[in-house]
Symmetry: C2
């Protein structure tokens, strides 16, 4: 204290040199849309090289293709066959979940993986349909068209929705708006996925209990009512089969979890279940005794479906809405999965590029009888564990599915629906990530609130309601953070020139006669009034304390602006008001370390002239030193404009 190098001119807070408007605009736009600087590699390259780089940018296969080795191929073939054995039964199951013909599940595991293999930058992602997307599509489209009464229109709407999903995905990527996906927080996704998994499991009660009629609503109340009003319709044959297969799948999953080397046990289990179930039905003729089977599956590759897209209202509006929501959800899942595996293997994934890949894959998919695909976690994890090296494992899977489509579809005729339901249930149970929810509760109560609200919204309302709740709460939290920033009183940490929050550092000492405040957020219109109230309340409380103890009266209010990242016009008015009120109460306002943005704006608004540049310091230590120097050397030259000033505010 009394540290008098504060008069040294080098320690003045600098006003950054004025920048031309266009330059700063360009900088802001770059940071907003190109934070990862994707054009960096194009700099200082000849045109031909740029063309090659551009091609490699959009089609990474040209990058890894030339370096592909036989060793890679071996690994990719093993991984590809493994995921195909998972993809075939899962594809059929999820297509049933989406109220679409089961064959669509196989179609969707053929074309999209081929496209992703060329355009995707993840080495571990395995492409396919997902349960949540299927469910969402069924419920959103089902509100407009009944899939039982009008299956053809429903199918065409599904293609149209897939087309729009792809269109939105590609647009987000092209316009570098990938950060919109970031607004789905991790907590929201955990809750949302858990809720969707719960709902999907409940839906499977239909097949497991062998019911013929079932509610079209997905919420838990409707499903429970539907189940318990038809207790006389329950079929024990189905139920027993279902329980057996679920137990089988869960046990294999348990083994694979304990021994990573045994990943193939759980990967093969669904196909094994399908084979076992089909054989059982074929030999026992259980299909004649209430066990429903898939039935006829058309042989042959994907038919072209471009002409099936529906571009007439009112159906188009539904398709656009469905496409937008399912597209964003699918992106969120696919990109999160891609990023996690990229982190394990230490390579980089460009979110915006991935979006273009996903979008193209879905748009072309919708032309070839596929519905919404993305990179599901379960399948990608199997791919990763099976030792895939590049996206070529997707090509292997596609070929395996193609062979199935060409030759093996009749084999699925006797596959019982209850086996499909068991496969879905066992996959879904893994998505209910209660451990993550507990972790959230421990770390951050607000994140837990977001998570549980999303879960409850999905389970008791609908998938969309859960989604909206999660996004709204997450955004509200950000707004609330800005609307109600924290303010702290700082104290001096003994034997140092460091000033820190007295709540966090109980040993920090109060400086007599000086109130040091720290504001912890940008000063914006949303918090300007609050901060004014709060600063005045700190001063009031400080004066009350002084009155009670009878120590030195308050003379200086230092505001540490280190953490104030930005300020807007309302914020500057607020500071002007606070300065006036503080002046009137006979105190002196001192600012510490405003950042470059803040300093620039304070300068333009002439607030620096108003407060005096000498009352702006680089560090709290210097400001306190200067205040103490004034306090002990001169009588402070404060005026009290109005006699009532002290009590009246």
């Amino acid at each position: 204290m009394g540290n008098m190098d504060t008069e040294c001119p080098s320690s003045r807070v600098a006003i950054p040199p004025p920048q031309p408007f266009l330059k700063s605009l360009k900088y802001s736009l770059k940071e907003t849309f190109f934070p990862d600087d994707p054009l960096r590699q194009f700099k200082n390259q000849p045109a031909s090289k740029r063309l090659v780089l551009g091609l490699q940018y959009f089609f990474p296969i040209f990058k890894w293709g030339p370096q592909y080795t036989i060793k890679f191929l071996k690994s990719d073939i093993i991984a590809g066959i493994t995921i195909a054995s998972l993809a075939i039964p899962q594809g059929i199951s999820y297509a049933k979940l989406a109220n679409l013909p089961p064959i669509l599940g196989l179609y969707s595991s053929f074309i999209p993986p081929l496209i992703y293999a060329m355009m995707g930058s993840s080495r571990d992602l395995a492409v396919g349909t997902v349960a949540v997307g299927s469910l969402l599509m069924a419920s959103m489209l089902g509100r407009e068209v009944n899939p039982k009464e009008n299956p053809e229109l429903f199918l065409h709407l599904a293609f149209t929705a897939t087309f729009f999903a792809g269109f939105f995905q590609a647009s987000l990527g092209l316009f570098r708006l990938g950060f919109i996906v970031d607004f789905l927080s991790h907590a929201a996704i955990v809750g949302f996925m858990g809720g969707a998994a719960t709902v999907v499991c409940l839906q499977q009660l239909k097949a497991i209990l062998g019911l013929q009629h079932f509610t079209h609503d997905a919420d838990v109340v409707s499903v429970m009512r539907s189940v318990f009003t038809q207790t006389h319709q329950w079929r024990w044959e189905s139920t027993v089969l279902g329980c057996c297969f679920i137990s089988f799948l869960m046990v294999t999953r348990y083994f694979s979890k304990r021994q990573a080397r045994l990943f193939w046990v759980s990967a093969m289990a669904p196909l094994t279940s399908v084979i076992l179930g089909s054989l059982l039905v074929y030999f026992t003729h259980a299909d004649k005794h209430g066990v429903q089977v898939i039935g006829e599956l058309k042989k042959g590759l994907n038919p072209v479906s471009v002409r099936d897209l529906v571009f007439v209202s009112p159906y188009m509006t539904t398709a656009i809405k469905t496409g937008l929501i399912t597209g964003v959800i699918a992106l969120a899942e696919g990109i999160a999965v891609g990023r996690s595996f990229a982190m394990f293997k230490n390579y980089h994934i460009d979110g915006n590029k991935e979006m273009i890949a996903f979008g193209t894959m879905n748009m072309l998919g919708s032309f070839t009888s596929c519905y919404l695909t993305t990179g599901p976690f379960s399948r990608s994890a199997v791919n990763y564990n099976a030792g895939c090296k590049t996206a070529a494992s997707n090509i292997v899977m596609a070929i395996a599915v193609m062979l199935t489509l060409l030759f093996l579809t009749p084999l699925f005729h006797y596959t019982p629906l209850v086996v499909l339901a068991s496969i879905i249930v066992s996959a879904m149970l893994g998505l209910i990530d209660y451990e993550a929810a507990i972790h959230l509760w421990k770390i951050d109560k607000f994140d837990f609130l977001v998570c549980i609200s999303a879960y409850m919204g999905v389970v008791f309302g609908s998938v969309e309601i859960g989604l909206v709740i999660a996004v709204v709460i997450s955004v509200l939290r950000v707004l609330l953070f800005v609307a109600r920033p924290r303010t702290f009183v700082l104290g001096n940490i003994p034997n140092s020139g460091v000033y820190r929050n007295v709540e966090q550092y109980p040993n920090a000492n109060h400086v007599p006669g000086i109130l040091i405040l720290e504001i912890d957020a940008p000063i914006y219109f949303a918090n300007a009034s609050y901060l004014r109230e709060r600063i005045l309340r700190w001063i009031d409380e400080e004066e009350d304390k002084i009155k009670a103890t009878g120590k030195t009266s308050l003379l200086y209010v230092i505001i540490d602006m280190t953490a104030v990242g930005n300020i807007d016009a309302s914020g500057i008015s607020m500071l002007e008001e606070v300065k006036k009120i503080i002046d009137r109460r006979g105190l002196q306002l001192v600012l510490v370390n405003p950042g470059s943005e803040v300093m620039k704006k304070l300068h333009k608004a002439k607030f620096i002239e108003e407060i005096g540049h000498k009352w702006i310091y680089l560090t709290v230590e210097e400001a306190v030193g200067a205040c103490n120097f004034m306090l002990h050397t001169y009588k402070p030259n404060h005026t009290k404009d109005e006699s009532e000033g002290w009590n009246n505010v």
Copy 2:
């Protein structure tokens, strides 16, 4: 550098003591909803005193009433009569603007001011109807009911909308949600008000040009089309009269602006215009020659209108929507006006309390044939300049209006509509605050964008569109701030232990081998991916620079967390990922000065154990000191997990 007091245990970053969940929840709720601590005065008081204080809280008249003096009364009478002379012609004009019977303007200047005088805490606010609110009501209700074809239903809907406006206002106040109004930023209000004023002025062309038919749309395109397709209908008598009165009003306003003592000149001008205009029409019989007049005004006080409220759909939905929007707009204006005058006179206004007062005033108003009222700026400024002392000036105004209603209404029979239009135009021109817009452009381009978008939205779209645009852009800005926080490289300011942003302080020196970054916002789900990319890009750029110059290679990455106000689960995962990547590249991550919230969460998530408590420092100086010490003493113990680590990420 090499400053070795870094080993001193006192300078460790403290982990704040764990707080019980309920206590921290209570603290957060208090800061969110009771930032001004309104219950402070109730503490340690006996029950009877508390009752009195509570009464005084809701009815401030009990606070200032007992101290009322004859001197105050004199001032208040002068101010009250002055504002009454403004209120009567303005009230009639604005009621015409709202497509309501003109007499409603007088009714609305009688009951609501009385209620506000009892419940309001501003000493300067003069209550009355406002142009923007009137216009908004006319346009929103007019979409449902045509005011010409069904005037009675329209009138009843206006009462209902006023009731709901009051209801929402009071609810916001009671539930301490006043901060919602803060989300209308100053810039948004400037643009919105300017746009509304422009639109209102254009609407007056109907009366000024003496047109019989006119568009119901308010946007500039429709109005211009309406005006220029009927050039043959223009009446020169009207136009000449209009121009004379507008000039007269503008000249008086100019005088009053230059000489604050002449405030009464502009305050009396509207009433003078009304009298002059009426006399002119009466003696020249101009009403027979195309100059339209007000006509019959019913004598007598406000009739009761409780039974006129419409609670049947579909009208109720419209009324609720209109009430919500007009109520919030009216609140924003009233509270901003109240606060500015309170600041001039150095007293305090409680926003939530004011909302309850406004709400009660509008609810009771809707029962007594009044429509939406608030505290208009122009009238309050006149009140202030006329030297009002307390809210009693509103009572004086109400009495003057009451006398007018009882005895003087017939005098307005011959008042030409063009005079009313002139009064509106001259009031509105003052609301187009182009100077504020220029100021915004100079200080903050983004605020200017908000302002001009709101203006354009109102002028070319509708009042609601402008409002929605302004709010959405303002909120997007807050979200964008959080989604794209600034990150800076810090350097050492010569001859000090201070580290600052090298862009702002070009003389700050880079520390060899150490990259010091500062993050300027809370780390949330919305920016976690961005920050990960950006931090890695900083490291890449730093390494490129080092490669180019061939200096000491990079070994430490210090992240200054001073400005990181909070972190959520996604943010912590991001830090974990960054740590892993940094480790893999053979660097060491060092954190500096995480705040209490951040420290608490990092502790709970076990990130502190992961990084090691010794790599978290209190100041950048200490962190740099420790790094340099390690750099010069030991060989750094970094491992490179993978040979490709450096280039591949």
